[in-house]
């Protein structure tokens, strides 16, 4: 399938990428050709085939409800671009949450 520049921009919005116009122009044909190739999966009749997400059918991997030592606050905040009041600071949030 071919992706139009507007569709590329829509996907970039979902992926939260501020693509430049040049990137959009470059990506549209690249993504289109990759998707054209990937669409081959549709040639396989697989209606009655279960999807698999793992090579192993593992189940019930659970952890006992026992506290483990956490990281120190210093360690957690050490990598943060901006810290204020021992919290991760971000500029004003415009959108509402999920």
């Amino acid at each position: 399938m071919s992706l139009s520049p507007d569709e590329v921009r829509h996907v970039a919005g979902l992926a939260r990428l501020a693509l430049t116009d040049e990137e959009v122009a470059e990506l549209a044909p690249q993504l289109s050709s990759i998707l054209d190739y990937a669409e081959q999966v549709g040639e396989v009749a697989a209606e009655d085939v279960p999807a698999s997400t793992h090579p192993f059918p593992l189940a019930n991997v659970l952890r006992p409800d026992e506290p483990r030592p956490s990281l120190s606050r210093e360690d957690v905040l050490a990598g943060a671009p901006e810290v204020e009041q021992d919290r991760f600071a971000v500029p004003r949030i415009v959108a509402e949450e999920g």
Partner: protein
């Protein structure tokens, strides 16, 4: 004291023996490797931590396998191993042997970049399980190796810090994404290294640099601390110059980890015990679909030679089919980017790594991600986001996941007929730097033989299987890799088959040729 340069030519097993016999100290071994790194890798040597030069300051003969060399910590650890050995302490089998770690595994206190601007300067607050296991086995970590950004690529040209060069021809790529780890071992800059393989990222660079590289059964090596590209496929594994060395490193890092929900509970297979059992009576399956069109003639010739050798060694060669293998690459390039699009969402300028300032949080996220990710990562995030998005999920992600089931079934059926399966690891020998960077789809085809096994989660390795000319250079002799695949949790079978061939082929030659890195 001048370091003994010949030490860098020894295999890990040979080094371990000499260390045990106290013919050489761990510090001397570390020193010899550091010296060679300083001479050939393009790092700013001197001081405690050596950092790779900026891409534009690298020379054409700098391998650039390492992004960061922990010189002081390596010396300190080596000296500690020596001290404990001198005190009569019982040490692990590979104690004192150096190792290099792909920069996608977290190392507490040591920068981990994943080859990305996004994580430039990030110092993880914790160690990956693999990192812990290496330390517990007293392997001396030399540093972190270069890679395609977030493990996305097949040439290591997608690193934000400049490409790694192939020691066999410094004008060519080492493969990827674990190109730094492969080049380090091939170039005698480390006897052992750790890579990660999602669709072939250990096996293909092993093939292109003439070394051994193995992807263990999915779930047998913990992913805790492996910065995720595609969680259902990622698996760390060993690089070495001999099959035995790879098996030893494999044995050290494999094992159940309660911190990884996808870690298999079975004890990891014993890959060392049956290593020397030979292939007599072993049924070796040749996969019909992993040959022919798209495979270079030189690669096919080397593969034919392998078949003859196996036959001579008493193996039974059978032809098997993986009917859905032709769809594996398409399925892989939907599943892996889908997972990646979600896994890489956390890089948003809030908690760690790069931030590009902006007026709102949303703009800051978008600007940070725009600046922090390179073109290939953006491409895959875009593909994956699209493949999961409303209206496309069923046709792309879901259908690909079904194809994945069919491929796993194909393998199960093939393993009824054969004990192990073989194919060329890569359809081509190493290509020139820059040759494929503008053609993503052509680059993806590098993984055509490795991706089916990735989707099925089976163990697979690549070992050197002779050399072949390059399409653009009929006089070149570049490494060709043989891929050996085994059933789930039967990793020992692939090592056994690989070891027998390695014995028959004779000792592996060091890189040679007019453009190769000089090896003492």
């Amino acid at each position: 004291m001048a370091a003994d340069v010949t030490l860098t030519g020894l295999s890990a097993s040979e080094l371990a023996q000499r260390l045990r016999d106290r013919e050489v100290s761990a510090l001397e071994v570390a020193e010899a490797h550091l010296e060679r790194i300083a001479a050939h890798d393009g790092v700013e040597a001197g001081g405690d931590e050596w950092v790779a030069r900026d891409a534009d300051a690298l020379g054409e003969r700098d391998v650039h396998a390492y992004l960061h060399v922990t010189a002081a910590a390596a010396r300190e650890h080596a000296a500690d191993v020596d001290r404990r050995r001198a005190a009569g302490e019982e040490l692990a089998p590979l104690a004192g042997v150096p190792v290099a770690i792909k920069d996608v595994l977290t190392t507490r206190g040591v920068p981990t970049t994943c080859g990305s601007r996004m994580l430039e300067g990030w110092v993880p607050p914790y160690d990956a399980t693999v990192t812990e296991r290496l330390r517990a086995g007293d392997l001396v970590a030399l540093g972190k190796t270069n890679m395609d950004e977030f493990a996305m690529g097949s040439s290591t040209e997608n690193s934000a810090y400049g490409p790694t060069r192939n020691p066999w021809d410094l004008g060519r790529v080492p493969g990827g994404s674990s190109g730094g780890s492969a080049a380090a071992v091939a170039g005698r800059l480390a006897p052992l290294s750790i890579g990660t393989d999602t669709g072939g990222s250990i096996r293909q660079p092993a093939a292109l640099t003439g070394i051994v590289g193995a992807k263990p059964t999915y779930g047998t090596v913990s992913r805790y601390g492996l910065v995720a590209f595609a969680s259902s496929l990622d698996q760390a594994g060993p690089f070495a110059r001999t099959v035995e060395d790879a098996a030893r490193l494999h044995a050290l890092i494999a094992g159940h980890d309660p911190r990884d929900s996808t870690s298999v509970r079975e004890t990891a297979p014993d890959v060392l015990g049956p290593l020397r059992e030979g292939v007599e009576g072993l049924r070796i399956g040749v996969v019909r679909e992993l040959a022919g069109e798209g495979y270079e003639p030189g690669v096919e010739r080397a593969f034919a030679d392998v078949l003859e050798r196996y036959e001579r060694l008493g193996a039974e060669i059978v032809e098997v089919s993986l009917p859905h293998a032709d769809y594996a690459l398409a399925a892989y390039y939907l599943i892996a980017p889908s997972e990646a699009s979600s896994n890489l969402a956390r890089f948003d300028g809030v908690r760690y790594g790069l931030r590009v300032d902006a007026a709102t949080a949303e703009e800051m996220n978008a600007a940070t991600r725009e600046a922090g990710f390179g073109p290939e990562v953006k491409r895959r995030i875009m593909i994956g986001t699209h493949a999961l998005s409303s209206g496309y999920y069923d046709a792309y992600y879901l259908q690909a996941s079904k194809v994945r089931t069919l491929i796993a079934r194909d393998f199960a059926a093939a393993f009824e007929q054969a004990d192990v399966l073989i194919s060329p690891t890569s359809p081509s020998v190493s290509f020139r730097l820059g040759e494929l960077v503008d053609d993503p789809l052509a680059m993806y085809l590098n993984d055509v033989a490795t991706v089916p096994g990735s989707l099925a989660g089976i163990p697979a390795l690549s070992l050197p299987a002779g050399t072949a000319p390059a399409p653009d250079d009929p006089d070149a002799a570049l490494p060709v890799g043989l891929q050996v695949m085994a059933p789930l949790l039967r990793d020992e079978l692939m090592y056994r088959a690989a070891w027998a061939l390695e014995q028959d082929l004779g000792p592996l030659a060091a890189p040679t040729g007019p453009s190769a890195l000089e090896v003492a």
